[in-house]
């Protein structure tokens, strides 16, 4: 009896030990069979709200649809400064400027911008590009699924449950159809209002009302957008708007088959969450083969993807760093991308270290673990991460974080001398160098102007100095406290005392904040203001209400940021352009800044090509902003990303959304490393069980004693 059970136990322990030596990865969150496949693992923390290219406008959505939809143009993957190259377009659009002659006839011209009435963009697309396989395109004699009945849908839970799928060639009309969709009343495109101002006839087109039937909708025409033949179309815009070319590289201008709207418009599909917002239909390198926003999203290779090759040339240094090793090979390299729902940063970070994610950012909390600074001030990885052969990539993002003043506010706003001096004083005392050190682990560059590095017009060194906040001697040095105090008393608030109340001046800062982590940040801001004797009351709300306050002009001071849509200074300077003021037009000028000189300079700068003339205008614009200080220019955040050795061909590119197709995974190497890093530790468990059984002993003793007592009593 004893021996049998004993043997069984031994066997069990043996099995446990075996399995621990067996290199089984017990903590592997993926099925074991995926180990050797060329799959990239990434995550999403919140399900993307929209995957419809006409609606989608945030970075987490672009991470996915950038791989699926193909606009006309793309940014060159390797070259810097950022350069637009054709993607589905056969060549860069032909741009023609048109003016009216005396008789009102339009003629081509090359004259100065103010006289140009229209600009024509003639676009030619590549032949032979096909859409991904999709049931909307499945066709025999007729479309299979354009007339679905209730009983057809019984067994359908997701889009892959349709038996047939089809494809067809992308034609010019698909691009035009997408432009129409931008102003469809049922589709709320965030750029609809903007585009109506530029594209000829779009405003009139948007007034045709709610057309439910896509076929009728398709038949309507925009006067300024014309299909010329299967591969050519022309877009006419009002005046001159050189930035339009950047918009053509955004997913808003990717082809959309009219069949998609017919298919998804059918009754019953929306109830099953089958819609264009969740199951895109594009022509890109990848297609969304599974979209379960409750768990994971899977991109897999589009079998009909047209031939595209890895670029043959790049920046100097790209060859040395191995970025050109795959030059000329056909894209894409990775078979599948799995985005796993991961809401918390801790599990993500730990899984990254265990090798279950291929790349990661560096959260402030894991910073010390990952990064150390060398003697020369350069960031480098810690030995622990170096041992894992992780690589570090750093880049200054094309964004700016700032503290805005509401210029219509009676205390801090307006362009009076007094208010300006108050703003300048505040600009000096908010020590963003310290902020960056504490909260960003040094991952930021204090802003000297509106433009971050990488945007035309940014200047380093003494050239780019903000003389109202900094002094220059061999580097930027924030002006002294005494200067700020002097400015404050000149503004009429000597020692921070408001003369009207004889108490400390109270300022209100609005921000979107909720978590406990924000507490420290906001305390810091309060501390900065108290250096001047000013009281700062912080009104933190959720982002939604914060936006509303800004819109209605209720804020006094507010914290916000801007992420460039495209690498052009216009995309930053328009944030302070008077006609775009938030309160008047709901535009992006959140500070409600109004300055006639600035507006005129901005309009001139907007239409210039990059060059000395434009730089001159930018200098003037920057000077106005620095002097008037409608913003406390905060900092340009730096992004640090960590990449495992097996994840290759990665180069920071802040503009491109479709980077995935260039990258490559060495899955064999990954499988080996994962095994090495994830040996389960059994002995603490064995110890625990051992201690537990020892603890059982007294129970046994008491039980025996009691039994004896009962027997004795009997």
């Amino acid at each position: 009896m004893f021996s049998v059970s004993c043997k069984r136990w031994l066997l069990l322990i043996h099995c446990l030990l075996l399995s621990s030596c067996n290199d089984a990865m017990l903590n592997n969150p993926y099925p074991a069979k995926e180990d050797k496949q060329s799959i990239l693992y990434s995550s999403f923390s919140e399900r993307p709200k929209h995957l419809d290219p006409a609606v989608s406008y945030s970075s987490n959505e672009y991470a996915i649809i950038g791989q699926i939809y193909e606009p006309l143009l793309q940014y060159h993957y390797l070259k810097r400064p950022y350069q637009l190259v054709p993607l589905t377009a056969a060549k860069m659009p032909e741009i023609t400027y048109l003016i009216e002659d005396q008789s009102g006839v339009l003629i081509k011209t090359h004259v100065e911008p103010e006289k140009v009435r229209f600009t024509d963009y003639m676009i030619e697309i590549k032949p032979g590009i096909r859409f991904q396989p999709h049931p909307a395109l499945a066709k025999g004699k007729d479309y299979f699924y354009h007339n679905l009945q209730v009983e057809d849908l019984i067994d359908i839970a997701t889009i892959t449950d349709f038996e047939h799928s089809g494809t067809r060639e992308v034609v010019a009309e698909d691009y035009v159809y997408q432009i129409k969709r931008l102003v469809h009343p049922k589709i709320h495109s965030p750029i609809a209002e903007l585009m109506k101002e530029y594209i000829v006839g779009l405003k009139e087109f948007s007034k045709i009302g709610k057309i439910q039937d896509p076929i009728v909708f398709r038949a309507q025409n925009i006067s300024g957008v014309e299909v010329i033949d299967k591969y050519h179309f022309r877009v006419r815009i009002y005046g001159k708007y050189p930035q339009f070319i950047f918009w053509l590289s955004m997913p808003f201008f990717s082809p959309m088959p009219w069949e998609a709207d017919v298919f998804y418009g059918q009754d019953g599909l929306a109830d099953k969450n089958i819609s264009l917002d969740w199951f895109p239909i594009g022509s890109g390198a990848y297609m969304l083969s599974e979209n379960n926003p409750n768990r994971q999203m899977v991109l897999s290779k589009n079998p009909y993807f047209h031939l595209e090759r890895y670029p043959n040339s790049g920046e100097p240094g790209d060859f040395e760093s191995g970025l050109l090793a795959d030059a000329g090979k056909s894209l894409p390299f990775i078979d599948k991308v799995i985005y796993v729902l991961e809401k918390e940063t801790i599990p993500y970070w730990n899984k990254f270290l265990q090798g279950y994610y291929d790349a990661s950012g560096v959260a402030s909390d894991s910073f010390d673990q990952a990064i150390q600074f060398m003697g020369d001030g350069k960031a480098a990885l810690t030995p622990a991460l170096q041992e894992k052969e992780i690589r570090l990539q750093t880049a200054v993002t094309t964004s700016i974080s700032y503290l805005g003043f509401n210029m219509i506010d009676s205390v801090v706003g307006g362009r009076s001398d007094q208010a300006r001096k108050l703003r300048q004083a505040i600009s000096i005392i908010i020590d963003y160098e310290e902020y960056i050190a504490i909260f960003m682990n040094g991952r930021g560059v204090p802003a000297q102007g509106l433009l971050p590095p990488g945007i035309f017009g940014y200047e380093p060194g003494a050239q780019g100095l903000n003389p109202y906040v900094y002094d220059w001697h061999d580097g930027y040095h924030r002006k002294s406290m005494a200067t700020a105090k002097r400015l404050l008393s000149e503004a009429g608030f000597k020692g921070g005392i408001d003369p009207s109340t004889q108490e400390a001046l109270v300022l209100y800062l609005d921000t979107a904040a909720s978590g406990p982590d924000d507490r420290a940040r906001l305390n810091w801001y309060r501390k900065q203001f108290s250096k001047l004797g000013l009281q700062l009351v912080i009104r933190a709300t959720d982002y939604n209400r914060f936006q509303q306050k800004i819109r209605s002009g209720n804020a006094q001071l507010f914290l916000w940021g801007w992420n460039a849509d495209y690498p052009d200074p216009e995309n930053f300077f328009f944030l302070l352009y008077g006609p775009h003021s938030k309160i008047k037009t709901g535009g992006e000028n959140a500070a409600n800044y109004q300055n006639v000189v600035y507006d005129r300079l901005f309009e001139e700068m907007r239409n210039l090509a990059n060059g000395p003339a434009r730089l001159e205008k930018i200098h003037q614009l920057q000077e106005i902003i620095r002097y008037d200080a409608p913003w406390v220019l905060g900092f340009y955040p730096k992004s640090y990303s960590l990449i495992h050795k097996w994840y290759q061909n990665l180069k920071p590119n802040l503009m491109a959304n479709n980077k995935l197709k260039y990258t490559r995974i060495d899955s064999d190497y990954r499988a080996r490393q994962r095994q090495l890093w994830n040996r389960p530790l059994w002995w603490p468990m064995v110890l625990l069980i051992g201690v537990g059984s020892i603890l059982l002993w007294p129970a046994v003793v008491i039980y025996r004693r009691r039994k004896k007592a009962v027997i004795n009593a009997r």
């Binding site: 017990l26 903590n27 592997n28 969150p29 099925p31 919140e46 399900r47 709200k49 929209h50 406008y57 945030s58 009343p185 049922k186 709320h188 965030p190 750029i191 609809a192 209002e193 929306a270 109830d271 099953k272 969450n273 819609s275 917002d277 969740w278 379960n292 926003p293 409750n294 768990r295 796993v340 729902l341 991961e342 809401k343 918390e344 599990p347 730990n350 265990q354 959720d542 939604n544 209400r545 936006q547 509303q548 819109r551 709901g586 992006e588 994830n678 040996r679 389960p680 530790l681 059994w682 603490p684 468990m685 007294p698 129970a699 008491i702 039980y703 009691r706 039994k707 009962v710 009997r714």
Partner: protein
């Protein structure tokens, strides 16, 4: 019996109506449809037109209770209250503020919730009863004393500590289970171990004490004393008589929570990123997706009331003395 059930069912209707009206007031007073639109349309370039468009599309452009512009019957039906609240009664949850069909999501997400909650409940029950029985078995010894102390200690630790500590120890240090996530089919098993263990352990304190109190009460009853006098050993007495007789309160206690298992555990699911209804609710709260929160409130209430109903029926089944009033 049937009549009794029908009568009980009828009683739930005013309850549900009450829940419905209460939540409606809460949600439409808190956030105006304008706020919702702005949040959903979100990031950049939100215009007034876009907001009103959104409101029209989601049916939030209607008046709250009475639509004076419409004809007789439509005065009531063409309102937010009718469209958004009354339809819940037929489980038409409608579209979430982010544009997905809530009903389909709920159907999909209740299974992972159940996969965590049901084992937690059953294993928890087993462990709790076992611990309680042991304490009763060794009553008036230092083992019981230390057992009770352990229970109080376990009770006094916040659930958050168990989760943070468990994840840190078993996933990060020992690498025995995945840190978080979920799989389909058998794959799900390895993700479930840690959440289930943690919920069992964190529930042991109060559960063990509760069942111990139950058993102690039972142990001192006359029939147990008789059984003991007949010469049955202590273990036999405990397992056969005490446990058997305590089964009724135990089972009814379980039945009342059974339907609520579908709702899942809010914190556990969001920590382990299990795609259940608990994390669904948390997300909705954080995103202020009121359509979802409203649906979940209603669903929760329905399930709770269902639990009450089941309990009543169970009582009548196991204990014929309960009058069918």
């Amino acid at each position: 019996m049937i009549q009794y059930i029908i009568r009980r069912l009828m009683y739930t209707i005013p309850l549900l109506l009450g829940v419905n009206i209460l939540t409606f007031f809460l949600f439409f007073v808190v956030n105006t449809p304008d706020d919702m639109a702005r949040m959903q349309l979100g990031q950049k370039h939100v215009t007034e037109q876009a907001v009103s468009k959104w409101k029209i599309d989601h049916g939030y452009d209607l008046p709250l209770f009475i639509n004076s512009e419409k004809g007789s019957f439509n005065k009531i039906t063409e309102t937010i209250f009718y469209q958004k609240s009354i339809k819940l009664f037929v489980f038409q949850f409608g579209i979430s503020d982010s544009g997905r069909n809530i009903g389909a999501d709920i159907k999909q997400r209740m299974w992972p919730s159940l996969a965590v909650a049901l084992p937690s409940l059953l294993i928890g029950l087993l462990v709790n009863i076992l611990a309680a029985l042991l304490m009763v078995l060794f009553r008036q010894s230092y083992l019981e004393f230390w057992g009770l102390v352990a229970c109080v200690v376990i009770m006094s630790i916040s659930a958050l500590f168990y989760i943070i500590g468990g994840q840190f120890l078993f996933s990060k240090l020992l690498k025995l289970v995945p840190i978080s996530g979920f799989g389909s089919g058998v794959d799900a098993l390895k993700f479930l171990i840690l959440p289930v263990v943690i919920s069992v352990v964190s529930g042991l304190g109060s559960g063990g004490r509760w069942y111990r109190a139950l058993f102690i009460e039972e142990v001192e009853k006359d029939y147990v004393v008789t059984a003991r006098a007949k010469g049955l050993s202590e273990t036999q007495v405990l397992f056969r008589h005490v446990l058997g007789n305590a089964m009724i309160p135990i089972l009814t206690g379980v039945v009342v929570v059974l339907p609520l298992l579908f709702m899942g555990s809010l914190i556990m699911e969001s920590f382990f990123s299990i795609p259940g209804l608990g994390s669904y609710t948390i997300d909705a709260i954080n995103r202020q997706d009121f359509a979802i929160v409203r649906s979940m409130v209603f669903l929760g209430s329905v399930l709770y009331i269902l639990g009450l109903l089941l309990t009543d029926i169970c009582y009548t089944l196991v204990d014929p003395r309960v009058k069918l009033l």
